[in-house]
Amino acid sequence: MTTLNSTRFKPTWTSAGNSLLILMALSVFLPFLWLSLGSFKTGAQLNNPALLFFKPTLENWKEVLRSGVLESAYRSAIVGLVTVSLSVVIGSMGAYAISRYKTGGSSTRFGILAAQVLPPAVLVFPFLEVSYKFRLNDTLFAVIISHLSFVLPVITWFLIGFFDAAPKEVEEQALVDGLSRFQAFRKVVIPQVAPGIGAAAVFGFVLSWNDLFYALILAPGNSATLPVKIASFNTFRGVELGAMCAAILVAVIPVLIVSFFIQKRLVRGISGGAVKY
């Protein structure tokens, strides 16, 4: 790599590029640093953001445990997993139909994203109304249904491209080799788009995990998800910044870890070299 760099780019450009990368990395890294430090600071110390060396306190983390942040993280995980599982199962079938059979015509391809154009406020009150009618208010079920309204279309849309790229001949081959259409879809097409499904699932999970708006309105009480719980540190007595920092870290770290392990799999295309053009 060093030889490649030195022959292709002038050293000045390489170092300029590196500095730019460092700058960008810092812009991402600094908020985390601030959060991490903040989660160990007392209220008074938090008023001085530049304070790097101080006697750390665990009070914020204790508060986070006391106030049920972990339970709400658990609820968020359930909401995310259920939403994504349903979206992947329904979305992959929908995306396949749209990709292969042009179901709904060409307008469906982007039309399925139409709900995203609406402000969430337009959708949330009908959801609230219906959830009241069915006595589902303040349940995870209501949150999951509302999350499906934006995760499912996005995952479907995301997967259409992957199905488009999957060679048609392979599933035709499977049909000739003795599979029914659904078997061919399950055993041959799905493995080909597996990296895409993985990427879509992570993406969809993050969308659901981060949602505050629907969760806050549909389940603000006992079923509060993590973002709702984090928001609750913004009390009428003021913002409990230290506890909030700790809670935000609880929200961010799992996503970071999952992304770190999955990123290589996301990039790798499983079907590379299977079909020669």
Partner: protein, 352 residues
């Protein structure tokens, strides 16, 4: 093994009618090649036999069974695609064994049969690999292995050699012939390459615009093409075709080119002469004159592009003939009238 029968098959994609009432009987155990220019409906026909395309009207039978409305899996056909269509997530062994597994054959038997098939194709050492670790030729063998493993009624080949380089293509061509002879399974093969069609087929079907133009043994089609299209399509280099007038045993083309023809002919005709039927000699005042423009040497023979007046003529000559004219730019062209092909100019149909 089974015969295939297509009766009045019709298929349109939107407003475009790609197969227009096609009738075709493919005898049991024969190697039939559908050949034609792109868009002639040959691949669609093959896909309809496989069940990958529905039929708008008509009947398809495999053996005695009407399969017109059956799903591909119920037709007992095996297919080899142009791009091999291997299952990228499965090993070579699992790829070859796939049709058996989907039939529910037990594992021991599958691995036994896979080993057998792999050995017959010379790919035993590749069984554990994934398709992307194979060369094009090896992938092709795997695809063929997957097709032969379950002894289907019919083999369907959709331009399986198009993605291979020239040398490998010849090699696989002979291998496919050998395989089909050994297994005796009815095969339908689609190609746009007339040379491939000539060499592979027991029966060659030349198609154009969704219809069969001519059907027969390759040699018969080569010797007696039914019309100008088939005459030009079959054979490489292409047949020389000239429009002109015939009278009293003389033919004079629109370009001014003159040659002796069958004295019974008269009026407007199109004359066709295969390049190898053109004889060239050193200049001789009694026959048509020409000038060698381009000489493409192929070892035992050469392809000459000859300019005679305004007429361009392609000739294939052996080295003996070539020696006589090697150092001369100007030559004489001759051709026996027995090997001429005569077509009606207005309809393009064969006269003799």
């Amino acid at each position: 093994m089974a015969s295939i029968s297509l009766k009045q098959i019709q298929k349109s994609f939107g407003d475009v009618e790609v197969v227009k009432g096609l009738d075709l009987e493919i005898p049991n155990g024969q190697f039939t090649v559908l050949v034609g220019p792109s868009g002639c409906g040959k691949t669609t026909t093959l896909r309809m036999i496989a069940g990958l395309e529905t039929v708008d009207s008509g009947v398809i039978q495999i053996g005695d069974k009407d399969v017109t409305k059956l799903e591909p899996k119920d037709r007992d056909v095996a297919m080899v695609f142009q791009n091999y269509a291997l299952y990228a997530h499965l090993s070579v062994a699992d790829n070859i064994g796939f049709p058996l597994r989907s039939k529910g054959v037990n594992k021991e038997e599958i691995s036994l049969r896979v080993a057998e098939v792999a050995a017959s194709l010379g790919i035993s050492e590749l069984l554990k690999r994934k398709p992307k670790e194979l060369s094009g030729g090896q992938q092709q063998r795997v695809a063929i292995g997957r097709a032969i493993i379950r002894n289907p009624q019919v083999f369907l080949f959709d331009e399986p050699l198009s993605n291979l380089d020239a040398k490998l293509r010849l090699e696989m061509r002979t291998e496919i012939i050998r395989l089909q002879r050994r297994l005796g399974t009815t095969a339908v093969y689609v190609t746009h390459d007339q040379e491939e069609a000539m060499t592979l087929s027991d029966v060659m079907v030349v198609m154009k615009d969704g219809l069969i133009k001519q059907l027969g043994k390759p040699d018969d089609i080569y010797k007696k093409p039914i019309d100008v299209f088939v005459a030009e399509f079959v054979g490489s280099p292409k047949m020389n075709l000239m429009k002109g007038q015939a009278s009293a045993g003389n033919f004079s083309a629109e370009s001014g080119f003159q040659i002796k023809v069958d004295p019974k002919l008269s009026g407007e005709i199109t004359l066709g002469i295969r390049p190898e039927d053109i004889k060239i000699t050193s200049k001789d005042a009694s026959s048509t004159q020409g000038r060698i423009e381009i000489m493409e040497q192929l070892g035992p023979r050469a392809i000459l592009t000859i300019q005679s007046g305004n007429q361009q003529i392609t000739a294939v000559v052996d080295n003996e003939q070539l020696k006589q004219v090697m150092d001369k730019a100007n030559i004489s062209i001759n051709s026996h009238s027995e090997v001429h092909h005569y077509f009606e100019t207005s309809t393009g149909l064969r006269i003799n």
